[in-house]
């Protein structure tokens, strides 16, 4: 018996005797026979080479594109080669969550640097060590804000996938979610105050919103605070380089998807969720915080500073079951931001804006209609069905806009070049003439 098989045959026999059945099958006698899995029809084992070959055939069935002009929550940005060279190191890749945290100083320092960068980016007081993804961070933020009140109000065009995760999460916390539709693509600020009632704990809005439009987050925060409710800002970290930061807008919790910061699109995951908040909400924040201190020899060291104890010792009172974090992906965002630097990061954001506006303007010149007239970041909706248009582009190795209500949602990042964008305009004209 190897040490990975905890029970000897004698152990098993003794246990079966104790419960009064003669064989292991006897334990499952209440399970209907028809749902029993008969022996699995698995082929015989294959050599490593044969498996690799087969996997390559399967992978070849995936359609990948040279250029991606589609966003909707996951974005195609340049990832400097050094990012993967550093984060691919075995010390990072193989590290499991540090149960004896302080012995893993490298992991803690990585998390500490991540938190510091997120606080710098958002200008919020506190960042936790990270969450699974942006949608989960948004859902946890609602739970944080629901103290004595149990309703969240979601405003305008929030990513529908975030909406689905928020609903799932809140359902089991007995928090209800109401949503208020957008007016001309934006949160209707004039009716917001009247929509907040005595049960409303928080309002949630996204900027840039799902259709790329820039919301007046400061105005929403002000109204929320006059009505004594909390405000959750769902941000895009790249856009945060240019827009007023969540901290400047005075929000209570700022959450976002960290994928644009050096992580591949990878079919939408695994990614990393950013969750930052103001000081007042520290004790209601899920996850953990790493802090910096000095040891008895005066050396700089890192420790787990803050973690809601309920998660370990009074679980029935815990607001969240998140005790760990998405360490490797958080580290990736840290390496990415450190590599591009402040100036480089602002440049990334600026190029996103410039290139997206170049494409939008060229399309308008070619006769296309933008669905919304207000200012956008790097995504915009073009009216009409884009099916023919996308088909022409697919032949040129370009993934075009995503189907959206009454149009297609386009996304242009710093990765796009003029040649590609001009092809999109030509394809648009071509599609119209078919």
């Amino acid at each position: 018996m190897s040490k990975y098989t905890p029970h000897t045959e004698q152990d098993v026999k003794t246990m079966l005797n104790t419960v009064g059945v003669s064989s292991l099958d006897g334990l499952y006698k209440d399970v209907p026979r028809e749902i029993f899995q008969k022996e699995l029809k698995l082929p015989k084992g294959k050599s490593q080479y044969a498996v690799e070959k087969q996997m390559r055939v399967l992978a070849g069935k995936n359609k990948t594109y040279g250029s991606v002009l589609r966003g909707g929550g996951i974005y195609d940005h340049i990832i400097p080669a050094a990012v993967n060279a550093l984060t691919g190191r075995a010390e990072f890749v193989t590290a499991y969550t540090p149960y004896q945290a302080e012995i893993s100083q490298g992991v803690l320092q990585g998390i500490f640097e991540y938190q510091s960068l997120m606080c710098a980016l958002t200008q919020m007081d506190i960042s936790n060590a990270s969450m699974y993804d942006g949608a989960q961070a948004a859902a946890e933020a609602i739970v944080m804000c629901c103290e004595r009140k149990n309703k969240a109000l979601v405003l305008g065009q929030v990513n529908p996938q975030y909406m689905a995760v928020m609903r799932t999460y809140c359902n089991s916390h007995n928090i209800s979610i109401d949503s208020i539709s957008a007016k001309d693509g934006l949160v209707d600020i004039n009716t917001l105050a009247d929509s907040i009632d005595a049960d409303t704990a928080c309002v949630v809005a996204q900027c840039p919103n799902y259709f790329g439009l820039i919301e007046d987050m400061k105005a929403i925060a002000d109204i929320a605070h006059v009505k004594n409710v909390k405000f959750i800002y769902i941000f895009n970290p790249v856009a945060a380089a240019l827009l007023p930061t969540p901290g400047e807008c005075g929000v209570d919790v700022a959450v976002g998807e960290g994928q644009p910061l050096g992580l591949p699109m990878a079919y939408g995951g695994a990614t990393v969720g950013i969750l930052t908040c103001n000081k007042a909400l520290l004790r209601r924040m899920p996850g953990r915080v790493v802090g910096q201190t000095t040891d008895h020899n005066g050396r700089r060291v890192f420790v787990l500073t803050m973690q809601a104890r309920e998660q370990h010792i009074r679980r029935e009172k815990a607001l969240s079951s998140i005790c760990s974090n998405q360490a490797l992906n958080a580290l990736t965002t840290t390496v990415y931001l450190s590599l591009v630097g402040k100036v480089g990061f602002v440049e990334v954001a600026r190029q996103c804006v410039d290139k997206a506006h170049y494409l939008a303007n060229e399309l308008v010149k070619a006769g296309a209609k933008l669905k919304y007239k207000t200012e956008f970041f790097h995504e915009f909706v073009v009216e009409g069905d884009g099916e023919k248009w996308n088909k022409i582009l697919a032949e040129q190795d370009i993934l075009g806009g995503m189907p959206a209500p009454d149009g297609t949602l386009w996304c242009v990042t710093e990765k796009a070049d003029k040649e590609t964008l001009d092809k999109v305009v030509i394809a648009y004209k071509e599609a119209r003439s078919i």
Binding site: R148, I313, K317
Partner: protein, 117 residues
């Protein structure tokens, strides 16, 4: 005059209201207090039900209400300076309540006898 509960809260009669805090014995047992949560003004507290969580370097403890009634004031200073409970437990009141009902309480002498056991 302060009166005490078996769960180590003190109650001080203020005329129409009572103030509630933690006893000196309780704060010593808990050690350095780092965080206190308090209800909101207007909330109702109930005899025997928890109205606050107090976190010390050793543990998180619930504080049970010795009275039933409406909270008319909270000691907001404690939110920023929870250590006041360690420093001056009998000045560091937590909540002030319009008490409709009060549980059976001990005098200070009875309480001092009670904690010796």
């Amino acid at each position: 005059m302060k009166q005490f509960t078996k769960t180590h809260e003190w109650v001080s009669n203020q005329g129409k209201t009572v103030k509630v805090g933690l006893s000196d014995f309780a704060q010593k047992e808990m050690g350095d207090i780092v965080y206190v949560s308090l209800p909101a003004v207007g909330d109702t507290v109930t005899i025997g039900k928890s109205f606050s969580d107090v976190e010390s370097v050793k543990a998180v403890s619930e504080v049970f209400s010795p009275v039933t009634g409406k909270v008319v004031a909270i000691n907001e200073e404690l939110l920023d300076k929870p250590e006041l409970i360690n420093e001056t437990p009998y000045d560091a009141w937590m909540i002030e309540v319009e008490a409709a009902e009060t549980e059976e309480l001990m005098t200070e002498d009875q309480y001092l006898e009670f904690i010796k056991k």
